[in-house]
Symmetry: C2
Subunit: 256 residues, 2 copies
């Protein structure tokens, strides 16, 4: 699939914004592997999922160009960034899309809220090898040093082996020392106690999103949450076909 | 699971806004089945996927209260609406969440962009029976008359039979006469030619999202797109576990 005589073309995006430390580290790493184009939001777009900008137009501008690297910022969401790159910025289809490094976990159900993973699903829809990298640390000064060799190796293996149709990767790194890598499944769980209630000076209530993740299967050892809690990098092969195949025959049996 | 001696409590939301015709029709229908609470965005939030509002707080206000029905509008996304309803508005867990009726198709890959389906996935994460209803007609004056008896029947069957853990329903209606119902899988496809390029009075480019859906399997007869193209309502059982289980062993075989 990939012409191995040429350096791969790698598109990078994220949801923390074009200047976040995570994407700068990821860009430095990817420049070791291929030619790189960054198209990232012009500011934070966390928890934007696969949101698209439909009520107003979007723009992009070049912020850097040097040998093997071009960087653009875009006024849209992470998914907008991928769409704009594929349709309007890149002169050929990239060999790989990487998103991140996200400052914060995208394990378990976070995959459906994450702007980082939204961009990855968008790449996957377009038939492009796509990987999201995240670290379980919200600090903008998080240290990625121990994660870096794994990012390089996972990326090289993805380029070498490819992925099944409609499949991308959701890679998360634990806080602290890394014990190794586990290929895992998405842990079952939910967010609870999700709002902090405040009152404005007029006494009217407003609500800040917050909350706690409730793990529904803390003892299962094949989940991404277990891997991360035990010091492993988790890799969840992730798909864009949301069909619950096991339920098709069940619903066909209904009186409809 | 549901106490059949009581009228079910039904939470309704959408992504077209609390005053859209689709949610007013859905509210009228659900009032035939149970006690209804509507918590819907205070304006259009199309293509908001599972986006969450994290950079500013959200608010809600009551817009109507009568016997068996309360309606609220919320400043957030559809997923915010469900979270706010479950955490702050409802005094008990609803028996059912319905979202829509969306003005526009949420079949195929649209499921990952849809704010309507974002709310449904959110309900599913919280262990609540959840259904998204959409019609393949973007007109705000779309006629839902033929769809209505199917909405009622699908809802009643869902309440009666339940759904497997982690599964919700994505229901789409065709334009024109309805030939029946097909339980289907999500069609493989992608959006192409996605932007209209314009120039502002200063000559700077800006981009409007638009595009065409490219069906990758137009001959397959078990997809939602085939059902809709042939006059059938499509029901896709949809899941929140995005793990590509078939790829786990493949990736475990890599040199990582």
């Amino acid at each position: 699939m990939i012409d191995k005589t040429k350096r791969p073309l790698i598109l990078i995006t994220n949801d923390d914004g074009a200047d976040a430390n995570g994407i700068l580290v990821l860009t430095r790493l990817m420049c070791e592997i291929g030619d790189v184009v960054v198209v990232a939001p012009d500011g934070p777009r966390s928890a934007q999922s696969n949101a698209l900008t439909v009520t107003h137009p979007i723009r992009f501008k070049e912020i850097e160009e040097k040998e093997g690297l071009k960087r653009y910022s875009c006024s849209g969401t992470p998914t907008d960034c991928v769409k704009l790159a594929l349709n309007e910025i890149l002169d050929r289809k990239p060999d790989l899309i990487v998103s991140g490094i996200n400052h914060g976990s995208n394990a378990a159900i976070n995959v459906i809220y994450s702007g980082t993973m939204g961009a990855v699903l968008e790449g996957c829809e377009n038939g492009i090898l796509s990987i999201g990298f995240s670290i379980c640390n919200h600090s903008l000064s998080a240290d990625f040093t121990d994660f870096e060799p794994f990012i390089l190796q996972i990326t090289k293996e993805t380029l070498k082996n490819g992925l099944p149709h409609g499949t991308c990767l959701n890679v998360n790194a634990p806080v602290g020392e890394i014990a190794g890598v586990k290929v895992a499944r998405q842990c079952d769980g939910r967010w609870t106690k999700e709002f902090a209630r405040r009152a404005d000076p007029q006494g009217r209530a407003y609500f800040w999103l917050t909350g706690y993740f409730e793990n529904h299967e803390p003892d299962a050892q094949d989940t991404d949450e277990w891997a991360l809690a035990n010091g492993f990098i988790s890799i969840v092969p992730t798909k864009i076909d949301l069909t619950a195949y096991n339920a098709i025959e069940i619903v066909r049996g209904w009186d409809i």
